[in-house]
Symmetry: C2
Subunit: 279 residues, 2 copies
């Protein structure tokens, strides 16, 4: 991995890197915020998965998370949302499929399967790379994200409960097989056999017995995509109630789907993860 | 003025407006963050002037200021950095002259003078408009800004000490007549008679006897534009020492010119302004 930028912030460093990904078979870009405490020893890490159209840059600029990461001594990892490049399949006229819309799955269908292996990338390759090269505690990770990235955080944790100390999400796509965004991508990436989609749907994973210790979700009530039934937190809540999976879904009155919503509550999420990461 | 957007953040509202400006003779866009306290009564306001290439959107997304404004009960006002539109003079190939580069002066030269009256706009028209239409305390204002906007904040306060309770700046252009950015614009906006430039140069204003109670400046030592002598805080410090103008210039080790630098210290600036606004 090659460091391509380093910006001092809140006493730590917001660094950006390139590397050749074995999972995605292309060059990937990501950012890591190392808090001041990382100068003196290894620190835990919170992975942040961003939403549709985002790169590694959106959250690091807009979420206001670095302040809290510096207070708690936690690193922040910002992966990209998909493989990218001229050689990587894309649907230029769609923002919700292809580059910028990897959906954190391992694609099985062509042309997507060549590069779109974001599930392996985020859960396996990137943590191994970072824990070998940066002052991060081995295996002491939590995960969060927004919208498509909230979906990603939920499925990564539910499928790998031993890999993450805690999980939270903002406005997550909770039941992708039952919304336009999810079904439109899963059809392309995973094929027509809907039974293969379940492995990447947080609601269906809970129904199938996946469990984590706890889940924190914030959802704005003025979120246009919530109104459009793209997010479906009600389905996830029902599955958790049916199955006895602990979850706190906070309906935040008047908040929308933007990073201004995330900025408002990211401090509480980072405090929530800090308790688990330092337990 | 017409409200065109409203986003809930930290319990208050980040609103955006259009209006027809009498000073600039065109439609102007600006944003205001109203903290939760504004629902119960009038609040003081901190004006934020942004730098080259910015609109009203950059600081509201990147600076992380709304959190602190909500804590202190202070409104934030984000003007645009210039007049804009197809009818407004521009130099498309230059980022440091024309649209996005108003430099907070009243232009006297054509074609700029028709619309580029940002000094009157920021110091007179906008405060009058906002205090008549929003829950803002009359005349209880402070001012801050970044780079070109740091220059703007310094000159607005030095020329109108009675209008602002306090002034601060990040990486300000302190002595524009002596740097490429400033002289390249002042020549176009104000003409070849250099004696007319002094009225918009913070260092020369202090030398000419302008005074405010106090000034807070943060400047990163890893700022490429500081190295390029575009900012010249050393000239401003010397003028303040010569003239007995109180100033605190904090050289922040390792910080650059970006909003990550601003985000790191904006909380301290807002606390500084809150003390003056509530005194």
């Amino acid at each position: 991995m090659q460091q391509i930028e380093s910006i001092k912030e809140f006493g730590g460093y917001l660094n950006r890197y390139h590397h050749q990904s074995d999972s995605c078979h292309c060059q990937m870009t990501f950012s890591v915020y190392l808090p001041p405490q990382a100068a003196a020893g290894k620190v835990p890490a919170l992975y942040w998965l961003s939403g549709l159209t985002c790169t590694d840059d959106n959250a690091r600029v807009k979420a206001g998370a670095q302040r809290y990461a510096a207070e708690h001594g936690i690193a922040l990892v910002f992966p990209d949302t998909s493989p990218r490049g001229d050689d990587v399949a894309d649907e230029a006229e769609r923002y919700d499929l292809g580059q910028g819309a990897g959906f954190y799955v391992n694609a099985t269908q062509q042309p997507w399967a060549v590069h779109y292996q974001m599930y392996d990338y985020v859960t396996q390759e990137l943590p191994a790379l970072l824990e070998a090269n940066l002052p991060l505690l081995s295996g002491v990770r939590s995960i969060s994200g927004h919208s498509m990235g909230g979906h990603g955080a939920l499925i990564c944790a539910l499928k790998n409960p031993q890999s993450y100390k805690s999980v939270s999400a903002f406005s997550p796509i909770c039941n992708p097989v039952n919304c336009g965004w999810g079904s439109g991508c899963f059809d392309a990436y995973l094929g027509e056999d809907v039974s293969t989609w379940q492995a990447y749907d947080a609601t269906l994973l809970v129904d199938a017995g996946a469990r984590v210790a706890d889940i924190l979700i914030d959802q704005g009530t003025a979120d246009e995509f919530y109104d459009d039934k793209q997010l479906l937190p009600e389905n996830f809540r029902e599955a958790c109630e049916r199955e006895g999976q602990p979850v706190t879904i906070r309906m935040q009155e008047g908040y929308d789907h933007s990073y201004h919503f995330i900025a408002t509550f990211i401090g509480e999420h980072i405090a929530y993860h800090a308790r688990a990461l330092k337990a």
